[in-house]
């Protein structure tokens, strides 16, 4: 049939969804993530198997539309062999791209899969007593615009013993010009202090 409502890749993944978990008891998974709500028309469960911080298998079930089915199928293929951190930071746009694009009003249906995956990864981290911060990408972000001090600088100061805003200021001079970044600085610091 020509001019289908979605791309050929979407159609293929919709008709032949990969890695569906038909029987939960048949899959020896390490962690599971659940997201969504049938009331809103979509719900998703994602199961992962992990070895040495790498996702070796991924299966799923969903109550969702064509976009949700196809994008989760694609996601489940894409994350196999991926490190936990890389998988955690996959964006719905990356999956949409692999699918040859999705209509704009369908992007929100495709986020379901990656949100469920994030939950599953978090579940794994929790079960294994690991540090959730290992999932956060170290992208430097300028926090103090006056002095160009980044979140990475704050992290280093925290590792160096800064456990109060005053100590942090002493070590980095952060927020000593206009002072507008105080609130966000404290948030970032607390994140690194695991508060």
């Amino acid at each position: 049939m020509s001019n289908w409502v979605y791309s050929d890749i979407v159609k293929d993944h919709f008709i032949n969804p990969r890695n569906v978990l038909y029987d939960e008891s048949s899959f020896d998974y390490d962690a599971k993530g659940e997201i969504g709500n049938v009331k809103c028309g979509d719900q998703m469960i994602m199961y992962i198997k992990v070895r040495d911080n790498v996702i070796v298998d991924c299966k799923w079930r969903t109550y969702g539309c064509a976009s949700a089915i196809a994008s989760t199928s694609m996601l489940s293929e894409a994350v196999k062999g991926m490190g936990l951190k890389e998988a955690y930071n996959i964006k719905p746009q990356d999956i949409a791209k692999r699918l040859g694009g999705l209509p704009e009003n369908k992007i929100h249906c495709s986020v379901l899969g990656d949100r469920a995956l994030k939950e599953a990864i978090k579940d794994y981290i929790k079960k294994n007593g690991m540090d959730i911060n290992m999932l956060i990408e170290e992208r430097e972000e300028i926090i103090c615009k006056c002095l160009n001090i980044t979140d990475k600088d704050i992290k280093e100061a925290v590792l160096g013993g800064a456990d109060t805003y005053e100590k942090l200021q002493e070590m980095t001079k952060i927020g000593t010009v206009c002072g507008q970044c105080k609130e966000i600085t404290i948030d970032v610091m607390n994140k690194f202090l695991n508060k």
Partner: protein, 387 residues
């Protein structure tokens, strides 16, 4: 290929196309007094007669429009043009978007609009309606005779007598009723009614409104004196001719149509009930137009069902939010009090004159596989337990 989306639109009847073809070269403007104009004007007036005869009213009370949406919009517009802030519009919660969204728009710019609840079958709650009629303002009620999603038929005669008791105007959107049930405007006392051609195998882009008192009507499109000055713009001549012919044909075949559709719908429902479990029938089989069947399949989402069926060459529609790009599922099913997940899993099968019993065997067979496949994927469906 099986087309079961006849409430969305229907194929053009060959006899209707033939009638239109005959007039392809009659290019005169019906407003012209010369022979070119008179020739086509005569055709238009005959079509007006054909439409009027089908609904049993005088042809002078019929005004042609571009279709159902214009018809519904222009009637509400006429009411508020006249009564402005002294007018109040009451619409049911299950009206077509061309009523509901216009009403919501008017509400947003300050007009007095209220919405009437329906019961679990989709019938307007008459006591709620009556309560809202106790006002100083001049009221217009707008309730559709048959619903496009579930097929439920409203008791317009009864609503009309309530309206008369309070001196209210009454409009009925009869787009989904025309040609699927007897509509006799001698018996149903309404001030306005809306009709459309392409739901009864006529051409698209043409419809009509019935106006009881044309002196009272304020035009929506201003301009020339076409349609007695009630709807300006050079007439859609071929559309009008096609609409007239489609009315004439359906009038002759109305009872066999109703019989055929009822039988086909019964077959389809039996097939579904016997082959698929955990379903919910959203159509009131005792009180609905005979071509419409709305069913929810527990644990699966409607757009996915619809698109799997599409791949099998079967056309249906769904009340799922995903199909429309909105976040809310069918307003009709929600107004009936159904859970959102049931509304998300609803499919509308709407039959037409081209459908056969064999079509329905094929549909049931494919549907069975589609539902089973989706339920195996479903994160909320476990065998036998439902949602």
């Amino acid at each position: 290929m099986v087309y079961l989306d006849n409430n969305a639109t229907t194929p053009l009847l060959p006899e209707v196309a033939e009638e239109m073809k005959k007039c392809f070269n009659m290019y005169g403007n019906p407003s012209s007094l010369h022979s070119f104009g008179r020739e086509i004007k005569e055709k238009i007036e005959y079509a007006r007669f054909q439409v009027a005869r089908f609904i049993n009213c005088n042809k002078n009370n019929i005004v042609f429009t571009s279709g159902g949406s214009e018809g519904n919009n222009c009637i509400i517009n006429s009411f508020f043009s006249k009564y402005k802030n002294n007018g109040k519009l009451l619409v049911s919660k299950i009206e077509h978007p061309s009523i509901l969204n216009y009403a919501k728009y008017l509400l947003s710019i300050g007009y007095d609009i209220d919405f009437i609840d329906v019961d679990s079958k989709g019938k307007v709650l008459l006591d709620r309606l009556e309560d809202k009629l106790k006002t100083e303002k001049r009221v217009m009620i707008s309730v559709m005779i048959a619903n496009n999603e579930t097929g439920i038929i409203q008791d317009i005669e009864n609503i009309s007598s309530i309206a008369r008791k309070y001196g209210a105007f009454i409009h009925s959107d009869m787009v989904q009723g025309l040609g699927k049930m007897v509509i006799d405007l001698e018996k149903i006392d309404v001030d306005y009614a809306t009709f459309s051609s392409h739901k009864i195998n006529g051409p698209k882009g043409i419809g009509a409104i019935y106006i009881k008192d044309i002196k009272d009507f304020m035009p929506f499109i201003h301009g020339g004196h076409q349609e007695k000055g009630l709807r300006a713009g050079t007439e859609n001549t071929l559309g009008i001719i096609g609409f007239g012919k489609a009315c004439e044909i359906r009038e002759k075949e109305l009872f066999s149509y109703i019989q055929k559709m009822s039988k086909l719908r019964e077959k389809l429902l039996d097939g579904i009930i016997n082959n698929i479990n955990d379903i919910l029938i959203n159509t009131d089989m005792e009180n609905s137009v005979p071509n419409t069947l709305n069913i929810s399949f527990k644990g699966v989402e409607g757009e996915a069902i619809m698109l799997y069926l599409d791949i099998e060459g079967i056309a249906v529609s769904t009340g799922s939010a995903c199909s429309s790009g909105e976040l809310e599922p069918s307003h009709v099913l929600l107004a009936m009090g159904l859970d959102p997940e049931i509304a998300h899993g609803s499919i509308r099968f709407s039959l037409g004159i081209q459908n056969t019993e064999e079509d329905l065997f094929y549909v049931v067979d494919r549907l069975k596989n589609v539902i089973s496949k989706l339920r195996k994927i479903s994160s909320v469906y476990s065998k036998g337990a439902g949602v």
